[in-house]
């Protein structure tokens, strides 16, 4: 793939990654809101918190441009690798932390896991207040 085409493709991936991040966060916030409002049923897709991993593409894309910037030209590869590493750790920690936090809140608000769909990495649990039906 030539460099120009690669940049075009990467820009599309950048937008898709931002959209994926937005999707993930909005789902997380909607679960928080449903909990806050005391909804009778809450659907929590913990696997959506893997979506911010797609941000590795914008990070690699942006840091790849650093080798054209004189002050950091020599350390561009280091900056790129370190940024990706930090992103992966942050997303992994956030995923674990957010999942635990929501599950604890659901337990505290006396929600019961009524329906679990698990396929590969995908996991969705539907929680209901009181008895499952």
């Amino acid at each position: 793939m030539n460099v120009k085409a690669a940049h075009v493709v990467l820009v599309l991936f950048d937008f898709a990654a931002v959209a994926a991040c937005y999707w993930s966060l909005s789902d997380y916030l909607s679960v928080q809101q449903a909990l806050h409002l005391g909804s009778s049923s809450v659907s929590f897709e913990s696997s959506l918190l893997y979506l911010p991993f797609a941000m590795v593409i914008p990070v690699l894309h942006v840091t790849s441009l650093l080798r054209f910037w004189e002050p950091v030209k020599q350390s561009a590869a280091y900056v790129s690798a370190a940024s990706v590493f930090v992103l992966i750790v942050v997303v992994a920690v956030f995923k674990l932390q957010a999942t635990n936090e929501i599950e604890n809140q659901l337990k505290a608000h006396q929600y019961h896991a009524c329906e679990t769909i698990q396929k590969g990495r995908y996991r969705r649990v539907i929680y209901r207040k009181g008895e499952c039906y």
């Binding site: 793939m1 030539n2 460099v3 085409a5 690669a6 940049h7 493709v9 990467l10 991936f13 990654a17 994926a20 999707w23 897709e45 696997s47 959506l48 893997y50 979506l51 911010p52 991993f53 797609a54 590795v56 593409i57 690699l60 894309h61 840091t63 790849s64 080798r67 590869a77 280091y78 790129s80 690798a81 370190a82 990706v84 590493f85 992966i88 769909i117 698990q118 396929k119 590969g120 990495r121 995908y122 996991r123 969705r124």
Partner: protein, 261 residues
């Protein structure tokens, strides 16, 4: 015992742990948190979904260990042949001790360095995923009390489509990243994480919009309609002839007239 013999004997020494089946099952329950009988095909599918990303992550770790975090690799075409040129000190590496390799060199392919090798790794991963998920999907459908052929075809078709889409997008990401960055592990890391995100997104969309269910319903409808148009029509035709022959026999008419002659 002489000092020369002792190390030889010690190096040949092995420790064997013997567990009774009951103890083993008890240990498994404590470690896994549930009885072995409680594991379902869905658990196997879940585990299967992690096989390829974990295998790729191990390869990425190998690259990082071999070339370092800042390890750089550039793909260059010379006289129509693609070469992977490794930057840094070859002396500090254990496996890739040269400075340049053909893109299809087994060492490079095994380490998944360069877009060609990454694509091979993705293709291999897709085949492994399909080999794990499809038999499990078939077994899952077959073990259900009530199922249809449409369900089996629909589930397998969407599983294949999801794996192919994820792999295709991951491959495109690796190709694009490989063209703009020199970080050796960059294309593989991009492929791993884009593949994971894509797999989750596709499954979520499927669950949200009931794509598999709609496909299953459409296939069932089509199969039923096909049955009606072929075997159903044939059965109805035979029934009509049988009724006519019966009517003719009961009413003293020549049997088979209008049908056979």
């Amino acid at each position: 015992m002489s000092q020369e013999v002792r190390p030889i004997l010690e190096s040949e020494q092995h420790t064997l742990y013997l567990f009774s089946m009951d103890n083993l099952v008890k240990e498994a329950k404590e470690t896994l948190g549930k009885e072995l009988q409680e594991f379902t095909l869905q658990d196997s599918k879940t585990a299967g979904g992690y096989v390829v990303p974990v295998a790729d992550a191990i390869v990425a770790t190998k690259i990082l260990r071999e070339l370092g975090v800042t390890g750089e690799a550039v793909v260059k075409n010379v006289n129509g042949k693609a070469y992977v040129i490794l930057k840094g000190l070859p002396g500090s590496r254990k496996v890739l001790t040269g400075t340049r390799y053909l893109a299809n060199n087994p060492k490079i392919v095994k380490m998944a360095i360069g877009t060609k090798a990454v694509n091979r790794s993705i293709m291999k991963g897709s085949i492994v995923t399909l080999l794990i998920t499809i038999p499990l999907s078939i077994a899952d459908v077959c073990l259900k009390d009530q199922t249809t052929t449409g369900h089996l075809i629909g589930v397998v078709a969407t599983d294949i489509a999801k794996v192919l889409i994820s792999s295709g997008v991951a491959s495109l990401a690796a190709l694009a990243v490989g063209a703009v960055t020199t970080v050796a592990a960059g294309p593989l890391i991009a492929a791993i994480f884009v593949g994971v995100a894509m797999g989750v997104a596709l499954e979520s969309l499927d669950q949200r919009y009931g794509i598999t269910e709609k496909l299953v319903a459409a296939i069932d409808k089509e199969l039923n309609s096909l049955y009606e148009r072929t075997i159903g029509d044939f059965i109805r035709g035979v029934q009509r002839i049988e009724d006519l022959l019966d009517y003719q026999a009961r009413n003293g008419l020549p049997v088979g007239q209008g049908v056979f002659y």
